[in-house]
Symmetry: C2
Subunit: 88 residues, 2 copies
């Protein structure tokens, strides 16, 4: 498997950094308030399944941004699911 | 610009359908409860910016699943942002 970095990759990497970073304030908000009542568990379970598939897709099309962004997103999504179940 | 459908596309399309669908229960939950207190506005603003870039990335690498999934996701994200601002 061979990878190369080009302009498209840079756009994808920036996109990945932003969408992955987006999960951080949600995770922090739940952690700080110990409340996740308005957060949809269904949303984050679907996200976990879908992001796992995006990761597989990234490996198939050999696109580093897709692989990296989705790996980190998965970790954040599981932390949100864990807190949602814990704090409700 | 030329597009073709192959196995990778199918994985990407399924991934896109799932991650995009994930936003629907969150949007519905806010609509039904008229409450979005625990939902992070910062998360969805970052998502809107990031998903716009993923859309651009999809156009650059000519991957239909990336283009389609992110178009629909953007619409759902803007509806969530609108309701978050309205219902708080």
């Amino acid at each position: 498997m061979e990878f190369s970095i080009n302009f498209n990759n840079i756009i994808g990497i920036v996109a990945g950094i932003i969408t992955t970073s987006a999960l951080v304030p949600q995770a922090l908000k739940i952690y700080r308030t110990k409340s996740a009542r308005d957060v949809s568990l269904t949303m984050f379970i679907f996200m976990a399944v879908g992001i796992t598939l995006w990761f597989v897709y990234g490996v198939l099309i050999k696109e580093i941004p897709v692989i990296l962004a989705n790996s980190v997103s998965l970790i954040l999504i599981f932390s949100i699911i864990f807190m949602k179940i814990r704090y409700g």
